[in-house]
Symmetry: C2
């Protein structure tokens, strides 16, 4: 019998990834301040975000029943800098042009913890994504589809953005928002076994 799982994320992609490995769960949406601190590295930022989501989830849940909470934060990193959601059409086109014909990173911090104890663990997973060459016209046409507007890095790899992806090196599920191999292995230490749950 598996422990009860709570996904602390409003991302439908993360929920789909967890369903893909046979898990059932409830959802909470921790509201946190997502601003980047001065001189904060991408790794430190992502870890601080998933751990802040854990802290806020613990407050929201007021642990009455034993559960395992799963938090994650995924960022796009280019030239060592965090690339957020685009502020405008020209911002998105500029970011996509910078990513054209080269590699960037997708970095996820995952934090897993128990409601009834202070026990928790965080880990980082890094995947390299290579884009093909993209013309300005293509980037503009892509903006017009509406997909880039609410996406970190101005693209969605689970959508039309996949036509720009020449290849990746690393975890494919990480690029979609949750590294499944690493998450499943860690969940097992918290009493949740995907192979038993399926």
């Amino acid at each position: 019998m598996n422990e009860k799982l709570i996904l602390a994320s409003g991302s439908p992609r993360r929920a789909n990834l967890l369903r893909q490995i046979g898990l059932t769960f409830e959802v909470v949406r921790p509201d946190i301040d997502e601003r980047v601190l001065p001189a904060e590295t991408p790794e430190t930022y992502a870890t601080r975000m998933s751990e802040s989501k854990m802290l806020r989830s613990r407050e929201l849940l007021e642990a009455t029943t034993a559960s395992v909470i799963l938090c994650a934060d995924t960022i796009v990193v280019l030239d060592g800098e965090i690339v957020g959601k685009p502020e405008s059409r020209s911002d998105a086109v500029q970011v996509l042009q910078r990513m054209s014909n080269r590699k960037h990173q997708v970095l996820t911090s995952v934090t897993i913890g128990e409601t009834t104890t202070t026990r928790q663990r965080s880990f980082l997973v890094d995947t390299v994504v290579t884009f093909r060459q993209m013309s300005v016209d293509e980037c503009e046409a892509y903006w017009e589809t509406g997909e880039p507007a609410d996406k970190s890095g101005s693209y969605g790899i689970q959508g039309l953005g996949s036509i720009f992806v020449a290849g990746i090196e690393g975890s494919p599920s990480n690029v979609a928002g949750l590294p499944l191999m690493e998450t499943a292995a860690e969940l097992k230490f918290f009493g949740i076994d995907c192979l038993a749950a399926y």
Copy 2:
């Protein structure tokens, strides 16, 4: 205005991948002999399969209206050999044990052609998949979930099988059954532009 597209595949994953890049299409299911010929290489086999599907689709469709047909065949290759669907529980467990803690290839041949002419093009896309170490118990538990039974290579990367995937090198959509970057680029030569269709 895009040409009309026909997906010659019964695979729901391929249909989902095409929808992901905004394309609308009809589906035909070409019935072909899928047996491997003696001494046939994986590359030759996959190409022969996607081209046989094209030939059969052309017969089924009896070109009355202009359309573009998309055919694909995806195989799992281990030590230079094609790994088909498992014949039994012990076959699946044996295959998974052979893939444990090492790399294998996922190879897709795509053939795109026009109904009103004999024009067609085929290309191959190859992705390397690395599995983590898997115990016999895990492989057996995975078999019990029912997922491996109808899958080439005895696993589904779009399902629970993803908990075994340490990483990939190459196209992530190729592993799911259709390499989207390459397919979208080739479809453009046949008058179908994803960026315009979306």
